[in-house]
Symmetry: C2
């Protein structure tokens, strides 16, 4: 299947204990699209300003990503400036300038409306539904969100959740969305809102998936060093959706492998700044790390 | 193989958000021994006071545990009183009375000195070595410790670690022992101190095992409710050692399965107070949960 990915494209300034980068390529759609590009054809939908560097567009094209849906507007590109402390658990946002992203209202080009696989990045749930309304019966829709929308646009978010097949969020968001501390009970409550499949990302503690009666716990890939966690969640979603799209499947077995490929893509992202490592992979490297993760999690054959 | 287990036997008073129990059976050797008893023959070494209820001894005997090495002394049994808040992450100790445990100096009975498998529970590392000196070339020695000994008897602990095959500790202890925040690097440093195999327990986040060049990440068994986490780590060690002893193996494949069985036994313990669930199991129930854990962690066949 071919993927349509809607989300933010940004210029990030990031400081971590391992260094600092200024105005590097960032945004949820960027990380998602690059991660997914190793698996399938990706069409990006987003907005950038007139200051967006041409070499980032060229980079997307080198990754085989279609940018015809990436609108360029007068004004400045979305900028985020954040830093991480030694524990890497949460970014401290120093500055956010929405710029052209403030008025983002995605228009899906006619030739994209029949794409079978839609990823709705973390944007206003009103806009997520507007994308779905423009699409013609996609086979599978996957959605992300964040604490901001859970707090401020809960009703709209619930309307979106009723329309999507898969929700990918982190553990704090899951607890907040469900109003429930115990993660398994939170998962039940969230799936009752619509998504048949729920993936809960837990950073260094891996990911949980709920699908039908099945539960799957995937460990994080063991890494000596985390250099920059920015984009880990979006890269996870990109690997997850990319694998499913390439496999043309959404059954339990495919969902489990998709979580593992998501885990692998996130592990590449966090090992360098920005897309420095994510953007520089070969598919055999991805497969090798997938096999390593499988070996890491293995303890006995399934009968 | 037959197991010798040295550690504390206590009377615990525990309060959690789910209730309270007074003077129930506790202590590292109790949880360890009961968990291991489902897999192999267990000989307990410890000390209790003259007030230790006979029905706890009868309970050990019902589980097939040999208590001939459980010394009974004049004085009161070791008592611990603790409570847990809603997050269950750490116990708040309200009172500790060492009583007869303060002068515990394990003497290994002649008939136990040739037992092939030794578990050294969390006691003074001087005493752990005294046990090893009394044993005659055990095939495998597994050891636990805690922050108290890491801080106050570090040199003695390092001497003990040089003599044991397997160390089982939690993540905070691993970081403290290694003086290293990054867990994978901490693991390398700890294994350089002696133990060929290191198991790091991470509570609700599962366990990590390091053995030769292999790393294994086992998720915690997914539970709706945790009622009382007391004894989880000791039950883990009991399931781990019990499985290895029964399998009569200590290669990588057996170590991986042992971690999974440890995970399973810990999950039973935390689902009720004290040994209420752990003490009331059948082996088929243990195997069924092991298979469930395997299914939870599975995502692809190993080639």
């Amino acid at each position: 299947m071919t993927l349509l990915a809607v989300g933010s494209v940004a210029l990030d300034t990031v400081a971590t204990p391992f260094g600092r980068r200024e105005e590097i390529l960032g945004g949820s759609a960027s990380y998602f699209g690059v991660a997914a590009s190793y698996f399938t054809e990706v069409h990006l939908v987003g907005v950038v300003g007139e200051d967006f560097p041409a070499h980032h567009i060229e980079f997307f094209h080198r990754k085989g990503i279609d940018t015809s849906g990436l609108e360029s507007r007068g004004g400045r590109t979305f900028r985020w400036h954040g830093e991480y402390g030694a524990d890497f658990n949460t970014a401290r946002t120093l500055d956010t300038q929405l710029n052209v992203f403030a008025d983002f209202a995605p228009t899906i080009r006619e030739e994209h409306r029949r794409l079978p696989f839609v990823f709705l990045g973390n944007i206003d749930p009103d806009l997520q539904r507007s994308v779905l309304r423009q699409m013609r019966r996609p086979a599978i829709t996957v959605c992300d969100t964040m604490n901001y929308w859970i707090e401020r646009k809960r009703d709209s978010l619930l309307e979106t959740l009723a329309l999507v097949d898969v929700l990918i969020i982190n553990d704090a968001e899951a607890r907040q969305l469900a109003g429930e501390e115990a993660l398994l009970r939170a998962a039940d409550k969230i799936r009752a809102l619509g998504p048949k499949t729920l993936v809960i990302k837990r950073g260094e503690h891996g990911a949980l998936m709920f699908h039908g009666a099945a539960r799957f716990g995937c460990p994080a890939f063991p890494l000596e060093h985390v250099v920059d966690p920015t984009g880990a969640g979006d890269s996870f979603a990109g690997g997850f959706c990319g694998y499913l799209a390439a496999a043309n499947a959404s059954d339990e077995a495919a969902m489990r492998k998709a979580v593992a490929f998501g885990t692998v893509m996130a592990s590449f992202t966090v090992s360098e700044f920005g897309v420095e490592r994510l953007g520089d992979l070969t598919y055999p490297e991805i497969e090798a790390r997938y096999r390593e993760l499988r070996r890491f999690a293995y303890f006995d054959d399934i009968e």
